[in-house]
């Protein structure tokens, strides 16, 4: 653990932990809505913001927040009002976003290395100012997602019912879209635009194999995201691997491990049951009532 006595490694670790905690808290709503890959698309749009920021000598992260937010709002409006051409419109936005980013970064004075830093993440170059941005945006995101959990759950679970409940459905949908853009932009530093969806989606996919409710899935996914971020940075520091890729591979490794263990557990329980014809109800595992 010697490496963590260096400030830059410590900043990398703290940044990764914040992102590991916040990304699944937002990602769970995307998974519930079957929009697991939307983060990927918004990441592409954020890259155009990075390019514009580098070209204009403004903070790439802040310009990327603006570009990603704009992209996310457009995608949400296409989703809400669009018809059959919706996925084509999304495809145009995604490819336009990444092509615009590559082109603008090329036009700026930045080296090709800085493009790579945004495509695949560059945790170890996290500056103290970056860490403040990640910390503040991450905290706002987490608090919003936790406080509004019942309302966001209702909207993502059954949008029509939420409308008849008088919930501000459009505002809540836009909030998820903007939250996705913010997550993408802060996670861009850690894992890069090409790997962002993994941190939002994989911990949720892992958690929901063993959980029974929404709240427990959210809690478990946040814990798994935290673990993947911490363990990934540690692996990167000890084995000198790319931090972003290490974090994502730890998350996917956890997914595989939990899948195998859960399948094994189910098989064991089936063998232990006296009557094979009994209905598939498992009374032993009632979860605490979650109001």
């Amino acid at each position: 653990m010697d490496l963590f006595q260096y400030d830059f490694m410590l900043r990398a670790l703290v940044g990764a932990l914040v992102i590991g905690l916040a990304a699944p808290a937002l990602g769970i709503y995307l998974v519930q809505r079957r929009l697991a890959l939307i983060g990927d698309g918004i990441g592409h749009v954020a890259l155009t913001g990075v390019g514009a920021g580098l070209l204009l000598n403004r903070s790439p992260v802040l310009v990327a927040v603006l570009a990603a937010t704009l992209g996310a709002v457009v995608i949400e409006l296409v989703r809400a009002y669009g018809r059959t051409s919706g996925d084509l419109a999304l495809a145009l936005l995604f490819y336009g976003g990444i092509a615009g980013g590559v082109m603008l970064v090329g036009l700026s004075d930045a080296s090709s290395g800085s493009l790579n830093a945004y495509l695949f993440g560059s945790l170890t170059t996290t500056s103290p100012a970056d860490l403040v941005t990640i910390g503040v945006l991450g905290a706002v995101l987490l608090v919003t997602m936790l406080v509004l959990r019942p309302a966001l759950f209702a909207v993502c679970h059954d949008e029509e019912y939420a409308r008849v409940s008088g919930l501000p459905v459009r505002a809540l949908n836009l909030l998820v879209a903007v939250g996705t853009a913010v997550t993408v932009t802060i996670a861009m530093r850690a894992v890069g635009v090409l790997l962002i969806s993994a941190l939002m989606v994989v911990p949720v996919a892992t958690a929901q194999q063993v959980t029974r409710g929404f709240r427990s899935t959210m809690t478990a996914a946040m814990a798994l995201g935290l673990f993947a971020a911490g363990a990934g940075v540690w692996v990167a520091a000890t084995a000198d691997t790319a931090p972003g890729a290490s974090v994502v591979l730890v998350a996917i490794g956890s997914f595989l491990a939990v899948t195998v263990l859960a399948a094994g557990g189910r098989a064991l329980r089936r063998r232990g049951r006296p009557a094979p014809g009994a209905p598939a109800v498992e009374p032993a595992e009632h979860e605490v009532l979650l109001g």
Binding site: Q32, P150, A154, F214, V281
Partner: protein, 254 residues
């Protein structure tokens, strides 16, 4: 007890220029249990969805509890039970979590769930006979049990009006009985019910008035029609000649 709960006046609804409802008027007063009947594609679901504002009106007006639907904000007075639980997404949710969404109209978006919310969820689950399944994932429930969970969600908010869209379609007999019991208790508590149905089944004795939608208009408004073949009944008021063309077996609930 005669104040109007729902007033639909001269409503016209169309999808993509194809008219589904034409100049339909319907008024529900407090305490009524009204069944909207009709063949598939007759527009009966569209009628209740338009009443709730889920489908935009082409012409005409809808008022809920005396307020024009567009300006209506007291959604805690309305409980909606959709045809089925939507896709729901890939994330598991417990029965109690789904039912707890029914409290949001009363509680608002920002206030966390309190003791009264949890008590209402427990009571609603008990009313539909699912108290022992509160902690189970909804996906493990049968179709009928899922429908009961949806009526519990609507009841949890303590509404004055229940709107149900084909709540008993494809539901097992035990769940239909549980459903009828919950609806009876709601009516006895002074509630008003608007219910879309293909078959009435055990709900039949509860219905105070039936509305038959046929080809985008109201073909009958009055007593519950007898099963097919009894159209000659003197109580059966023919408003529209097309009523005879209803497919056989439509009312063979009991």
């Amino acid at each position: 007890m005669t104040s109007p709960v729902i007033e639909i006046a001269h409503a016209t609804v169309g999808y993509d220029g194809r008219p589904v409802l034409r100049d339909v008027s319907l008024t529900l007063t407090a305490g009524e249990v009204v069944a909207v009947l009709g063949a598939n594609g007759s527009g009966k679901s569209t009628l209740v969805r338009a009443a709730l504002g889920l489908v935009p009106l082409g012409a005409g007006s809808v008022a809920l509890f005396g307020t024009p639907q567009r300006r209506f904000r007291q959604w805690h007075r309305v409980g909606y039970v959709p045809q089925r639980l939507g896709a729901g997404g890939g994330v598991p949710a417990t029965v109690a979590e789904v039912v707890a969404a029914g409290r949001l109209a009363r509680r608002g978006v920002l206030r966390p769930a309190g003791r009264a919310d949890r008590a209402a969820v427990t009571e609603a689950l008990r009313a539909v006979g699912l108290a022992d399944r509160a902690g189970d994932p909804v996906a493990t429930l049968s179709g009928g049990q899922q429908q009961r969970a949806l009526i519990a969600r609507a009841l949890a908010g303590g509404p004055e009006l229940l709107v149900l869209d084909e709540p008993t379609a494809g539901v097992d007999a035990a769940s239909q009985e549980a459903f009828a019991g919950a609806l009876r208790a709601f009516r006895d508590g002074g509630g008003t019910v608007l219910l879309v149905a293909h078959e009435l089944g055990p709900l039949r004795p509860l219905i105070s008035r039936a509305v038959v939608v046929h080809q985008g208009g109201i073909a009958h408004d009055g007593a519950v029609p007898e099963p097919a073949g009894h159209h000659a009944d003197p109580d059966h008021e023919h408003v529209h000649p097309h009523c005879d063309e209803e497919p056989d077996g439509l009312w063979t609930g009991i």
